[in-house]
Symmetry: D2
Subunit: 414 residues, 4 copies
Amino acid sequence: MVVSDMVEAGERRIEWAARSMPVLEAIGAGFAQDRPLDGLRIAACLHVTAETAVLMGALRAGGAEIALAASNPLSTQDDVAAALASYGIEVHARAGVDKDAYYRHIHQALDIGPHIVLDDGCDLVNILHTERVELLGDVAGGCEETTTGIIRLRQMASEDALRFPMVAVNDTRTKRMFDNRYGTGQSTLDGIMRATNVLLAGRTVVVAGFGFCGRGVAERAKGLGARVIVTEIDPVKALDASLQGYDVRPMAAAAEVGDVFITVTGNRDVVRAEHLAVMKDGAILANAGHFDVEIDVRALEEMAREAHFGIRPNTDEYVLQDGRRLLLLAEGRLVNLTAAEGHPAAVMDMSFSAQALAVTWLAAESANLTPGVYDVPADIDAEVARLKLAATGIDIDALTDEQEDYLHSWRLGS
Amino acid sequence: MVVSDMVEAGERRIEWAARSMPVLEAIGAGFAQDRPLDGLRIAACLHVTAETAVLMGALRAGGAEIALAASNPLSTQDDVAAALASYGIEVHARAGVDKDAYYRHIHQALDIGPHIVLDDGCDLVNILHTERVELLGDVAGGCEETTTGIIRLRQMASEDALRFPMVAVNDTRTKRMFDNRYGTGQSTLDGIMRATNVLLAGRTVVVAGFGFCGRGVAERAKGLGARVIVTEIDPVKALDASLQGYDVRPMAAAAEVGDVFITVTGNRDVVRAEHLAVMKDGAILANAGHFDVEIDVRALEEMAREAHFGIRPNTDEYVLQDGRRLLLLAEGRLVNLTAAEGHPAAVMDMSFSAQALAVTWLAAESANLTPGVYDVPADIDAEVARLKLAATGIDIDALTDEQEDYLHSWRLGS
Amino acid sequence: MVVSDMVEAGERRIEWAARSMPVLEAIGAGFAQDRPLDGLRIAACLHVTAETAVLMGALRAGGAEIALAASNPLSTQDDVAAALASYGIEVHARAGVDKDAYYRHIHQALDIGPHIVLDDGCDLVNILHTERVELLGDVAGGCEETTTGIIRLRQMASEDALRFPMVAVNDTRTKRMFDNRYGTGQSTLDGIMRATNVLLAGRTVVVAGFGFCGRGVAERAKGLGARVIVTEIDPVKALDASLQGYDVRPMAAAAEVGDVFITVTGNRDVVRAEHLAVMKDGAILANAGHFDVEIDVRALEEMAREAHFGIRPNTDEYVLQDGRRLLLLAEGRLVNLTAAEGHPAAVMDMSFSAQALAVTWLAAESANLTPGVYDVPADIDAEVARLKLAATGIDIDALTDEQEDYLHSWRLGS
Amino acid sequence: MVVSDMVEAGERRIEWAARSMPVLEAIGAGFAQDRPLDGLRIAACLHVTAETAVLMGALRAGGAEIALAASNPLSTQDDVAAALASYGIEVHARAGVDKDAYYRHIHQALDIGPHIVLDDGCDLVNILHTERVELLGDVAGGCEETTTGIIRLRQMASEDALRFPMVAVNDTRTKRMFDNRYGTGQSTLDGIMRATNVLLAGRTVVVAGFGFCGRGVAERAKGLGARVIVTEIDPVKALDASLQGYDVRPMAAAAEVGDVFITVTGNRDVVRAEHLAVMKDGAILANAGHFDVEIDVRALEEMAREAHFGIRPNTDEYVLQDGRRLLLLAEGRLVNLTAAEGHPAAVMDMSFSAQALAVTWLAAESANLTPGVYDVPADIDAEVARLKLAATGIDIDALTDEQEDYLHSWRLGS
C-alpha cells in the first residue's frame, strides 16, 4: 500500500472509532477552545490503534506536543500510525517489530523531553527511571492505563523509587467496570472466535483470574453457552465466583477438563508444564492478560515434538510427545488485540476520556503533588459517566432536597 | 404456645441455621478454648433471628456477657428469643411491638453498660450519643452491619460527633459481596413470591438503587425471567447497570410500566405520590432497604379511597380514587425479613463471622484507636473467605515463589 | 375456622387468582352469554386450588354441571373447596386425606355420570376404564393436563384400551412452554426456598429430567445462582442441556456432588438406594414430577437409622447409618404444590383457558371423533396466546399481503 | 495464489473442520467399509465450506459420485472448492459470482443426472421441477437443509407439485435445536462483531423472528450484554419470548429504539421503508435469514442521498436525506456466512451426520416412498446425538427395567 492510501485507510478507521467515542469528542471540542495543554510535551506509550488516535487528537487540540510509541509490538495498526503522523504527531511504532525496536521506539518517544507521560504497562516509566534519568527533572507526572502497570508502580512507590506523581487511570470506576469488564470480556471471546471459529456452547472454558477483566471474560463465555471454570488465588474473589454460579477449582484440576483456557491474572506461568501435561487433545490456550508471560510458551515449545504455525489465523498447533495437540493463540500475547481488534471504541471512550481529563488535572495540580500513585479524582469519574449517559440518551434520577437532607442527617431514626 | 415449646422451637431453628454456618461454628469453637472476650459486656441491636443466635452463642462462648435488643420490630422470631433467654442471654425483643417498645428495648439493652456495641442501622449508637451519654465512657468501640448505618456513622464522624471507634462490618468484601448481593437478592424475591405467588417471568420489575443489594435483587429478578428496569442517582452505577443489559430510566418513566417495584436505596421517598399517580392497576410495591421510608406509605394512604389489609399474607391493597389497585407488601418494611425469613444462614455465616472476629480485634486494639469509622482489617476478610471455601470443599491455587517475585518486581519488562 | 370464614377465605383466594387470569375470565364472560355447555355433566379430577376454581366458574357459567375431586391429597386448599361448594359445585376433596379417601373421592365425582372428564395424571380415566366401566357409555371425551397422564393415555391407546377421545391439553404449546416451563420452574424453586430457606447461589443443584418442566427448573435454579447438573436418558435432550451450558452427568456421578436434587422425569426411582448411598451430608431431595415415585422414599426409610419429621415446614430429616443426614421435602410429593402454592395463576390462566376452549370443542365435535389422544386444535392455542398478549398490553406484527404471498410461493428464488 | 497453494490451504481448512466433526468422521469411516452409496449419483447445492467438504468426503467414501454447486454466491471458500476438486468431486462454485453464474452452476451440478439431491434453500429442487424436468425420472429423493427450503417444499407438496420424496433434515431435533439455535446464534453475533467491532453490552438489539434461529440469536445477544427486543407475528412465539424476559414489540416501535437489527424470519421486507424512516443515526442492519430479502435493501438505496461502501469489512454506510447514517452489513445477505465463517464445524457435525444417514435411508427406502416431505426417522436423530455425546465424553443414564415397565404401564396409580 502506498503511503497516501495508508493515511486514508487510517483516517477512515479513526473516523469510525470516533463515532463510538462521543464523550472524548466532546472533551476534545472543549480543549480546542480552552487550550489547557498549551506548551506541554507528552510522551505516550500506548497501543497504536484508532481509539488511541482519537485521544491523541483531543490532547493535541488542547495544545500538547506529542510523541507516541507502541505499548505492544503486535497491536500497532500501521495505517493509523500513518494517519497520526500526517496530523503532525510523532509516531514511533510499526506492527510486528522485535524487542529491540520496541524499546528503541520508547526511547525515541522519550526524546521529546516530556512534561507528562502516558503509559500502558509501565515500560516507558520504567525506562525513564532506569535508563533515561536525565529526563526526570522535567516530568510533572503521568497516567497509567493497566492493572499490571499499577502493580509495578505501587511496588516502585513502596520502594521510594517512583520520582513523580502517577495517576492510576486504570483504577477509576469507569475504567475498571467498563473497559476491563465489558471491553476485555467481549474482545477476548471475539478474538478466540476469529482465530478458531470454535463453537463455545457446551465447551468448558477455564478462566484464570477473577478480577474485573476475568469477570468480564467469564460472563461473556457463559453468555455464549460455555460452562465456565474459574481459577483464583484470592479467597474472596474465589468465593465470589463460586456464588455467581461458576465452578471454582485449582488450575491442576481445571487443566484436565478444559476445552479453552484464558489467562487474565497479571501474573506469570499461570498455565505451565504441569498443566500442559494433563490437558485434553485439542485444548485451546489464549492469554488476555497484559504481558505474554501468563502461559509458559517456552515449556510448551520444549514439550512439543513438532509445531505447525498458522494453521488458522493467529493459531499455532503444538504436537506433544504423546500425540496430543495443543493450540496456542496469538503466540500467548493479548488475544483480544492480536486476533481481534482490542476493546471496542465505546469502552475506550470512557477510559480515554478519564485520561484526557486526568492530564489537564495533572497539568494544573502537579505543583501540589508529591511522587506517588494517585486515584483519578472522583468528580472526573462521575463526569465521564454523566457525559456517556447523556450521549446514550439515558436519563437518571436526581436527589430531591428532602433526600439530600436525609442522607446527611444521622439523627433521623427508624 | 407454652414457653418450653417456644424454647424448643427456637432451639430447632437455631440448630438448623447453625448447619449452614460452619465458619461461625468453627470460630465459636475456637473462642470456647481461648476465651478472648472474658469480662466484656456487649450491647447488641440486631435482627433477633436464628442466625443472630448463632453469633450470640459464639460471642458468649468467648466469654462475653450480652444484652440483645431487636433492630426491627417486625423481624423478631419469638421462639429464638425464648431460646436465647434460656441460654442466659438478656433479650429485649418481641415480634410486632410498637415504636415505644422498640426504643425501650434498646434502652434496656444499653442498661448492661456495654464495652462493645453491635448495631444494625445505627439506632443504638444514636441513642447512646443522644440519650445515654453517661454510658459513653465505658464503650471501647463497636460494629455496624448495614449500609444505612455506615452512612449515618460517617456523617457523625464528619461532624466530630462520633465518640468511639466503629468497625464498618458492612463494608467488608465478604459482607458487601455476599450478604448484600446474594442474601438480599434471593430473600427479597423469596418474600415477594411468598406474599403474592405472582409469576415473575415476563413481568417488568423496577429495582430502585444499584448498590450491592440492588444488584443482587436485579440479578435474581432477571434470573426468574423478569424484565428489569433500574433507577439510580449515581451516573457510574447507572452506566454499569446499562452495560449489564438492564433498562435504566428515571422513576417517573419506570412508574408507568412496572409490574413490581422494589426499593433498595437507603434513602427516603424513592416511590412517592407523583409515581403512585401513574402506576398500572395491580402494581406491587415492596421495600428491601433497611428503613420503611423508601416507599411513601403516607402518600399512598392519602391517595387511597379504601384499603384492604391482608388480602394475602403481608399484602395490603390500596384502591385509588380512579379505581386502580396498588398492593403494598409488608407495610413498606423490609420485605425479605417480613414476608420471607431474611438472609439465608449461609450468607449470614460470612458477615457474622467477620463480626465475631472484628469484636476480638476491637477488644485487643481499641486502646490504639481514635473515634472514627474503621474498615475491617483485610486479613479478617480473607480469613473468613478461606474458611468458607474450606467448608464448601473448594480448593484454590496458591502463588508459586516465582509468581510472588513477579508481583513484587517492577523491573521485569514486557 | 367456622365454615363461613372458610368460604370467605376461599373466595378471597379465588378473587386474587382471577386477577392474574384475564384470559380465562374473558372466556368465562363469553360462556355466560353463549351457554355452550348447557346440559353437560363434567367430572373433574384436578388440584383443588384457587386457579382451578376460576376454571370451574367459567365452565359453570357456560352451563355445565360439575363434580370435582382432588388429583393430589396434599394440594387441596380447603377454603377454596368450601367456596366452590357454596357456588353449587360438587366438591369431593379435603387436604391431607389418605389413599382410600383419595380414591373414594374420585368415585364420588364419577357418580355424576359425566359427559366430559377432566383429568390430571390419568387416575380418574383409569378408574373409569377399570372400575366404573358402566359409565363409559355416556362419556363423550375428556382432557388431560399432565405429561405423566398423556404417557399413560398413549399407552392405553396403543393397547386399544382407551374408549373415548382425550384431548392432550398438556401438549399444547401454550401449556408446555408456559405452564410446564415457567410455572413449574418458579414454583419448584419457591417451594424449596420456603421449605428450607437455603441459599441457592453457589450450590450444586441436580435436575433429573430435561423436558419442558426440567428445563424450567434448571433455568430458575441457574437464575438463582446455582451450578446446575442435568441428568437425562434421552440423548437429544442431554445434548441440548449440554449445549445450553449445563453439566450433564449420569445420576450416579451427580449424586456424589449435588447439594439439592430435583426430580422431574415422569418416571419412578430416579433417585434410589445406590444414589442415596453416596450423597453428601445435608443433601436436599425434592420431587417436582407428578407422582411421588421419583424419589425412592422407601429405600430412604430403610437406609435411615432415625428420622426427624418436620424439622422445618415440609422438611423431614433422615439420618443414615453412617451419620449422614438427608433432607426429604414434602414427603417426595410435588414440592411446588405442597411447600409452595403450585403454579402461579398467570400460567394456569393459559392452560386452563386452553382447557375451557377444548371442552367446548369436544362438546361440539365429539360425535366426529374416535377414541384416541388428540392434540388441542392449533387455533385454540393461538387464540389463548393472542388473548394473553392483549391482556398484557403487548402488540405484535401482522404479515403484510406481500409477506403472505411470499410464504406461499415456492417459485420465488434466491 | 497458485492452484497447488489453494488446494493445500483448502485441505488445511477441511482438516481443521474435521477435528470438530467426530460424528461425521465416524460415519464416513463406516461408509468406507460398507459402501452403502455405491453407484449413486448425487447433485448437491450447499454452502461450499470446509464442513460441507467433510460431508462430501463421507458420501464419497460411501461410494457416491458427486456434483456440487454453491447455495450462496458469497459463502464459497475457493480454497475448499479447489481441494474438493482435487479429490475428484465435481465442483461448480466460485466466491462472489453473479446471479447468472449462480444458476449456471446449479444447472451444471444437475448435469450429473442425480439419483439423490441435497439442497439448501430449495433452489436446486425448484430448477429441477421447472427447467430440468427431463431429469426427474432418475431422482429417488433428496434432503433439504433449511427452514426456508422446507416452507417452499411443503407449499409445493400442498399443490401436488413435488415429484419425489424430500427429507426435511432441517426439521430434525438435532438440526433445529443445535445448528439453528447454537450455530446461527453464535456465528451471527460473531459476524456482526467482525464487521463492526461494536460493543454489544448496553446496546439495544432487535431480533426479528423467534424461531429456533431467532432464539439462538437473541440468547447470544443477551449473553453479550445487550438488551434484546423481539418482534414476531406468531402469538405463541411472541408470548414465549416475553416470558423469557425479552421485550416484545412490533417492528414499528422497535425501529425507533434499536441500535442493531437482526432479521431471521424466513420472510421478506421485515425491515422496510417505514422502519428505516424512524431509525436512529448509526443503526446497524444485519440479516441472518437464508435469503437476502428480509431487509428491503432497495428501499434503503432509494432513501439514501449517498452511500459509502466498505467503510469496514462487509459494512456499507447509507446516508439518508436528513443526515442519519444507517449501516448495512454483508449487503443484507447472511451475515454469519459472509462476515464470519458460518456455523462452527461442531454444529455442522450434527446436521451433516443426520444428512449422511438420511441419504443412506433414502437409498434403501425410496422405492417405498411417495412424493412428499418426510421427517428424518427418529432413530437417526437419536443416533447422531448419542454419537456426539460419546465424542464429547458425556455419559447419560439408561432406563432400568422397572422404569421401562413403569413407562409402559398405565395401570399403576398415584
